[in-house]
């Protein structure tokens, strides 16, 4: 009797959750039935068109001992068998690893013994078993860099020159920024936003080019860029809000008091402790966010430099390095601009760390780009950078809007508009020094 009662009482609950699961499964069951139908009896009605094979050559390496290596991927809708390989459309003996049979999305390495010449253009092709040839061109053959100490040091040096030194040099604008009056300061803050927007667009364009040239259609490169950019924006937005909240709780009243005393300019505007607090903490957070965004951007830039050197697409001239140096010095300015109202002495260590956060990724970028370049990874990093940069721009204008709340005019302020325009133009003009 007792057992029955328990059972009766439990059954409805058990039954309810089972029903819940069943209801959730219904659409899936219908979908499964539909798929089974299409693969089974439905095939005859739907068999329209002939699926064509597609092979993408993702990367070509030229090796010292007379070998050309092509990294290929089956990016078509069907399995493919590779029949032949060629150099400049002339059939060559070759090996393919792990196998000449490539299932969908599988990769293979085609090794072609060939006495290639430094600096000459080559067109490397593979022919599938249905006789279709797929090829990729290289503008100038260059020896593949193998990750040894010497090469790593070489790339490290380039990364330091184009990434670390210019950013740290740009940080030295801080004393200048600090002496500016409010309208001029707003001009420079807005100039920073202009610089950043340019970098963000640059990253998106660069990513889009890589997607179009080197990423197979099946990966939907352009969509991936939009996706990663938005996700990166949202993630960093969330992180910055959380950071703001934590710092509020973390500090004692005395600390806040001490800090707020430095902030004479904003003290008059600050009505409550909270507001005051907000204004003190936020600039450091913004500067940090900017340096992270720029770091990601520079990582992408490093990838591009490393890969271009290896792929033989650019000659690493001193002109190129100087161009990148001038271009990247402005990134230092972007970091220090929000810190104008913050005490320098407390900031030196943090500033250097932020400079390194922004600059050092260039070195890692050149290593990864030079030694294990992957176009998909490159567009992912570039998109994260773009998202981060756009989020920082959002923060800067949000900060200014809050300060200007009573006036209620951000985009009609001449110094802000002029600063933004100047920032973009500076980037464009310094970018002209980089031969592409």
């Amino acid at each position: 009797m007792e057992k029955d009662e328990i059972h009766r009482r439990l059954q409805p609950r058990w039954f309810a959750s089972a029903k819940m699961v069943a209801v959730a499964l219904v659409p899936l069951v219908v979908l499964a039935a539909m798929i089974a139908f299409i693969f089974g009896p439905g095939q005859q009605f739907l068999g329209a068109g002939t699926p064509l094979p597609e092979i993408s050559i993702e990367r070509i390496e030229f090796q010292e001992d007379g070998r050309i290596i092509a990294f290929i991927r089956n990016t078509g809708p069907i399995d493919v068998t590779v029949a032949q390989a060629d150099v400049n459309d002339r059939i060559q003996q070759a090996a393919i690893e792990p196998s000449k049979e490539l299932p969908r999305l599988a990769e293979a390495k085609v090794i072609i013994p060939f006495p290639w010449n430094e600096g000459e253009p080559y067109d490397i092709g593979v022919t599938s078993s249905d006789g279709t040839r797929f090829s990729k061109s290289v503008n100038a053959a260059a020896l593949a860099r193998t990750p040894d100490i010497g090469q790593a040091a070489f790339f490290g040096l380039i990364g330091t020159y184009v990434g670390v030194i210019p950013v740290l040099a740009g940080l030295l604008w801080l004393p200048f920024i600090k002496r500016l009056s409010l309208p001029k300061y707003r001009f420079f803050l807005s100039l920073t936003a202009g610089l950043l927007v340019f970098l963000g667009i640059d990253a998106l364009v660069e990513g889009s080019e890589i997607a179009a040239e080197s990423v197979a259609g099946v990966f939907n490169g352009q969509i991936l860029i939009a996706l990663v950019t938005i996700l990166s924006f949202l993630a960093l937005m969330y992180a910055s809000v959380k950071m703001g909240e934590r710092s509020k709780k973390g500090r004692t009243a005395e600390e806040v008091d001490k800090l707020s005393s430095y902030d004479s300019m904003h003290a008059s505007q600050a009505k409550t402790l909270d507001q005051q607090h907000h204004l003190v903490v936020k600039p450091v957070a913004i500067a940090l966010m900017i340096s992270i965004g720029i770091g990601l951007h520079n990582f992408g830039e490093g990838l591009a430099i490393g890969a271009s050197v290896v792929l033989g697409e650019i000659a690493l001239s001193t002109f190129l390095i100087v161009g990148f140096m001038i271009h990247n010095t402005t990134e230092g300015l972007a970091i220090v601009s929000p810190l104008a109202k913050t005490k320098v002495r407390r900031m030196v260590g943090k500033l250097i760390i932020m400079g390194l956060i922004a600059g050092v990724p260039t070195i890692f970028g050149t290593w990864i780009g030079g030694f294990i370049y992957s176009p998909v990874a490159a567009i992912i990093f570039l998109s994260i950078g773009a998202g981060a940069i756009l989020q920082v721009v959002f923060l800067i204008y949000q900060g200014m809007a809050r300060a200007e709340a009573e006036k209620g005019r951000i985009m009609s302020d001449a110094s802000i508009i002029a600063g933004f325009a100047a920032g973009m133009l500076i980037m464009y003009v310094t970018g002209l020094m980089i031969p592409s």
Partner: protein, 377 residues
Amino acid sequence: MITVKVIVVVAVAAAVLSTAFAVGSQSFVDFLATAQDAELRKNTIGGHSAGYGLHETSGDVLDPISSYNTASEEVIIDPDNYLRSFDYGRISTLADGSTVREFTLVADDRQTMEIAPGVFYNVWAFNGTIPGPTLRATEGDLIRINFINNGSKPHTIHTHGIHKAEMDGVFEIINPRGKFVYEFYAEAFGVYPYHCHVTPIEEHISHGLYGAYIIDPKTPRPEADEMVMIMNGFDTDFDTENNFYAVNTIPYYYMHHPIEIEEDKLVRVYLVNMLEFDQINNFHLHGNLYQLYRSGTSMVPNEYTDMVTMSQGERAILEFSYKYPGQYMFHAHKTEFAEKGWMGLFMVKDPAQTGGSDGSNSSRLLETKTISGGLSS
């Protein structure tokens, strides 16, 4: 505190990305492949001459130049067999005493077969081979070709040479399942092409509907080692440029299966250019000169040379004999064609030394391998 949080967020993001990166990277795939491949096959490629790097591989070898490892039942032709095969027809005699030679040619266009190592193509062929069979008659014979269209598209047989208008295979289109009997007298001795003449002609020829026929003079040419070579090619990706070139269809075939001939013995090559898309084609012989009989319509040679250049449809008879034994190349001296398959070897044997060495494929392969890298001219 703030920095720690940021570092954690960045570190997690970096970890996720680098994992994705590692999974996608070649080295990781290689590592998995090596781990899975229990029985490691090791082949070497390259290293045959300076500049070509030696490479030992556990993967597959793609080498149409010095090896031929395809399933023979899928291949459109056996070039060894085709080379010296002549179809003299079913012979009967007319009331007036003249000889009738009757042939049957069946066209089909529905098969997909191997035309180069590992490359499969929708072949349109007479009697199931590309080139079609070499028909042979003597001057004055009545040639009768029973044509059956077994394909899915209309086809005809257009023979070069002298015949009545209705025997020209141009206006009498033979539809699928249709038949036609072509009849004409073998008039001028020589070597001629035959091919389908249905529009688009380019398509019907480039897919393989062609072959050669020979009219021997009443007084036969001197006894010789005779062979047919049809210079052809295939545009497998339909961009109106050939992807593969050859004599007798299979690229590089006679590189790894050299044509054996005897020292001081007369060799006669019936050479026809059926190459579609390219303006010219040519035949260059190494270590020798040949007597060139253009179209084969005269017993007097036009030229003594090692080079002849032909446009599509042109043909010639080449006669030569080798003074010295050894391996000699022949190839298109349009080197692009040569390096896309149109090259081969004559293996000249001293008759005194010929014995059991015939058919030792492996030794041939070893010898040809050293040559395959560089084409000398």
